[in-house]
């Protein structure tokens, strides 16, 4: 450009004369944001809206206001479920939080031996579908159970079975949070307490408990949500003890009463959302507790305490192992309780149901699809939120939608999918009854945890990476593939495995969405159990757990080698 002419230009030119520069980067960003927003809208928000709308309509789709709710609350048999659900929620939460706290305390604050083994074994139940402990309960304490006499005449079908099953199944979730809460503790506080000659009990009450307070509240919220929204355990072992989650199933699948299903869903949504909000508040305040200047607490040996906790933790592990072992044993027994010969008879699923082994392979497809699609979508979403400039309102909307799934019970989401995707006028209806929809639904259901993992991985990258890349004339997508993606690889693997395991074990949402040719294994467990085929049901549940466990082991072993090659820069 000729300098003499530019110098003569007026300092201010009309804004309209400014030629907008075509910008590929901006176009790609805009496409990503639109894509992510639409995806979350379709797979999450709209189905939820459809569910809410249905709760205030009658069966002909006319608006009836709170009519359905009034009808529901007027039916004693139904409202009984509310108090049942809350009872189960409080009882199980109380037990699990106490047990998991003791276990986590043993792991973090004592010098008991074999801590790693204890931790791994304590996490085992997370690999099983919630149906597994319920089936195990039948073998242990059912009418022909091996340990029926321990119950002294009480029936395991009902609140007792539900509580034991859910305690088993939610234990690892509580352990995970409490273990973190207790291990991030400032040693300086304990040193101060000792300098001030505070007694052990006093130190526990004034230092340990307050530091773990947020972890405890968070655990309570998470466990409570899991318990009140679980469907598998009460379905199998609940007997006449009805809870909201099973009521939704009965109303929708049994009586085809969709409006009432929607009403119960809204009621189930309430405690879950309250628990979620409590948890969010707590987590925001948790951050200030353990600063980078804190010194991690290292326990010192104390023979009495260490032995005490070794006994306590061993007892819990024995309980967990015996429930798993019972299910495995039950699956191997040829015909309980008449033919106790061990065989693989129960694994010949073709002898028990028309689908045979197909559900197992369906589940593998579902889990693989969920892991691949979910990891991709979750990472792109997290990248958009963290690294792409957008209007504050859109960002807020996306963030809300990414946090919402953790508060939405699977049953509720599944029902929403029926309402939204099964509308004749919805062009997306072609997905209804396909594996693709099951995948989308499962991704949406487990979105939040993966999203948070991806976010924290991205936050570890320096903020200005993209600015530097731009100054070096490197397009953002190249920087993404060469830097952001490789740096986040371990997190991506974690997310993929998390999604895989959960897709293998989930029962709740998919129970409304499957058709016979795409039935997942967890639903097959439920159906076989429904038909009185405990053996094959146990066998399928064990298969699910073994698959999840195998994937986890492969993740740890092969994944480690892979990461050693690609993450050399970490130290």
């Amino acid at each position: 450009m000729d300098l003499s002419t530019t110098a003569n230009r007026p300092l201010y030119r009309e804004t309209s004369q400014r030629r907008p520069v075509f910008n590929t980067g901006k176009l790609v960003s805009a496409l990503c944001i639109t894509g992510v927003s639409l995806y979350l809208l379709v797979t999450l928000l709209l189905p939820l809206m459809a569910m809410l709308a249905r709760s205030v309509q009658d069966s002909q789709g006319r608006f009836v206001g709170i009519g359905n709710f009034a009808e529901y609350l007027g039916t004693h048999a139904l409202t009984q479920s509310i108090s049942n659900t809350l009872t189960i929620g409080f009882v199980v939460t109380g037990i699990v939080v106490t047990l998991a706290f003791l276990f986590a305390y043993g792991l973090t604050r004592t010098c008991m031996p074999c801590k790693t083994a204890f931790k791994v074994l304590g996490m085992l139940p997370i690999l099983a579908p919630s149906l597994l402990p319920a089936i195990s309960m039948i073998y242990l304490f059912g009418n022909q159970g091996v340990a029926r006499d321990l119950l002294m005449g009480h029936s395991v079908y009902g609140i007792l079975g539900i509580v034991i099953g859910l305690v088993f199944w939610t234990f690892p979730h509580a352990l995970l949070i409490l273990n973190t809460a207790l291990s991030t503790s400032d040693a300086r506080l304990y040193e101060s307490a000792r300098v001030m000659k505070s007694s052990a009990l006093r130190t526990f009450l004034t230092v340990t408990l307050p530091a773990a307070k947020f972890g405890l509240i968070s655990t309570t919220a998470v466990v409570f949500t899991l318990v009140v929204t679980d469907f598998g355990v009460p379905k199998v072992i609940g007997g006449q003890y009805n809870v909201l989650a099973t009521d939704i199933y009965k109303q929708v699948v049994g009586q085809q009463n969709f409006a009432m299903g929607a009403v119960i869903s809204v009621l189930l949504l309430l405690p879950a959302i309250i628990a979620f909000l409590v948890d969010r508040r707590v987590q925001k305040r948790q951050k200030e507790l353990f600063g980078s200047r804190s010194v991690a607490y290292q326990p010192e040996p104390s023979p009495i305490r260490d032995r005490l906790f070794l006994v306590i933790c061993s007892l819990m592990i024995m309980a967990i192992l015996s429930i798993i072992a019972m299910a495995v044993y039950g699956s191997l027994v040829t015909f309980w309780p008449w033919n106790l010969e061990l065989s693989l008879q129960n694994y010949r699923f073709e002898n028990f149901s028309a689908q045979g082994w197909v559900p197992f392979f369906n589940s593998l497809k579902l889990a693989t699809g969920t892991a691949i699609v979910g990891t991709l979508v979750i990472f792109i979403t997290a990248y958009c939120v963290e690294k792409v400039k957008m209007a504050a309102s859109i960002k807020w909307l996306i963030q809300v939608m990414t946090m919402l799934p953790v508060a939405i019970p699977g049953m509720v989401l599944g029902l929403g999918y029926i309402f939204f995707f099964n509308q004749p006028e919805n062009p997306l209806g072609m997905f209804y009854g396909t594996m693709a929809l099951l995948v989308l639904n499962t991704v949406a259901h487990y979105f939040t945890v993966g999203h948070l993992t991806a976010l924290s991985a991205l936050k570890k990258l320096p903020n200005e990476i993209e600015a530097v890349a731009a100054s070096l004339k490197i397009p953002q997508y190249r920087a993404f593939f060469k830097v952001s993606l490789p740096v986040c690889l371990p997190a991506l693997l974690d997310i993929g495995i998390y999604l895989f395991v959960n897709a293998m074990t989930t029962t709740s949402a998919v129970v409304f969405l499957y058709s016979s040719d795409i039935m997942p294994a967890s639903v097959a467990v439920m159906n076989m159990e429904d038909a009185g085929q405990n053996g094959p049901a146990a066998a399928m549940a064990v298969l699910i757990m073994l698959t999840a466990a195998t994937v986890k082991v492969v993740h740890l072993q092969v994944g480690k080698k892979l990461l050693n090659n690609t993450q050399r820069w970490r130290r």
Binding site: T6, A467, R478, W569
Partner: protein, 352 residues
């Protein structure tokens, strides 16, 4: 002749907060410019606007005769170094510097020789295979500098590049940056809140406050002729005393007339500024009685903090006494002495 970089009437707000208000500035080819000011003064925003990392609400930016106001960063011609280094953590030092070059489609040999040249320039020839986490902070920042310069940009932007480093490393690296900049003749803008750093490195300093430019000038001009009370206080140390202006426009300090140019002042008051090193104890034409409060040893000088006796100042008066003069003065905390003010060192500001 148009300046290399010309900023015209630039404004930028974030919501209700005005970060930059009608900024105009010309920067010549090869200059080393420092944006200096307290945090929140808009210096970083101005740098980000020049880089295209933020978009302006109003005004224009011209670089090399091209209006690049609307250009995205990748269409502009600059290299940038951040306080946090922002190295690509998973790439080796070699790849960090070479990434931009490879992306330009340069041959492998060309990339190899260019990177090797830069590694030598920053004194890290044997660190090419290392990852950023294996380097010290100062070394990482040198790599970031080489990376920013590898594409031979026309403009180098430095966003508080030394703030995260230890004092000793900081001084060393600032010499490295300055000598490299002189050798390459690259126009450079550095953002800093450290006035000492700005004075040591810059050809010209742009002092900013509340989104405005307070003063533009060489370090010497800024120090010796601060344009405002803010500049006088922010750059170096300055004592402030309130003086009366009598009806004859003569400035009176502690009832003594000062040999200053007539000061027309409507309020009848002016603010006088004088640097600690320009005050002496002893005898002179204008003397002020003071009591020495405290004395801080600073190595080459002692900074005495004094309270005025029988007159007023806005705060305690600081006086820097060179160590070699100290012996003759018999100063000690609590003693009374007389301050000598020489009019040629006085800066006059309007009274508040």
């Amino acid at each position: 002749m148009q300046s290399f970089l010309s900023i015209q009437h630039l404004s930028k707000s974030f919501g209700a907060f005005t970060a930059l208000d009608d900024i105009s500035l010309n920067i010549e080819q090869g200059e080393f410019i420092c944006f200096l000011g307290p945090s929140g003064c808009g210096k970083t925003t101005l740098l980000r606007l020049i880089a295209g990392l933020e978009s302006s609400d109003q005004g224009e930016i011209w670089q090399s005769g091209v209006n690049c106001t609307k250009f995205p960063p990748e269409k502009r011609d600059f290299g940038i170094v951040f306080q946090t280094y922002a190295l690509f953590p998973n790439l080796t030092v070699f790849d960090n510097i070479g990434f931009g070059l490879q992306n330009q489609g340069l041959s492998r040999e060309k990339v190899q020789t260019t990177v090797a040249k830069w590694l030598e320039t920053i004194g890290l020839s044997d660190a090419g295979d290392k990852f950023p986490c294996q380097l010290s902070g100062g070394q990482q920042q040198r790599v970031a500098l080489a990376r920013a310069l590898a594409l031979s940009p026309g403009l180098l932007l430095l966003d508080e590049p030394l703030s995260a480093l230890d004092a000793r490393v900081r001084v060393k690296l600032r010499e490295t940056i300055r000598s490299l900049q002189k050798r390459l003749g690259i126009t450079t803008i550095m953002v800093t809140h450290d006035q000492e750093e700005a004075m040591a490195m810059a050809d010209r300093i742009v002092v900013m406050n509340h989104g405005h430019i307070e003063q533009v000038g060489t370090p010497r001009e800024i120090y010796q002729n601060p344009a405002s009370r803010f500049v006088a206080e922010f750059v170096g140390a300055m004592n402030f005393m309130e003086a009366e202006v009598n009806p004859q426009n003569q400035t009176m300090l502690a009832n003594q007339p000062l040999a200053l140019a007539p000061q027309p002042s409507r309020s009848g008051k002016v603010l006088l500024g004088i640097r600690p090193e320009n005050l002496t104890f002893g005898e002179g034409i204008t003397e002020l009685p003071v009591q020495v409060e405290t004395m801080e040893f600073q190595g080459t000088f002692v900074r005495a903090s004094c309270n005025p006796l029988g007159w007023t100042s806005t705060s305690a008066i600081k006086v820097d006494v060179p160590v070699h003069q100290l012996a003759n003065l018999s100063l000690h905390p609590g003693c009374e002495s007389r301050l000598v003010i020489q009019e040629q060192h006085i800066h006059v500001f309007p009274a508040e």
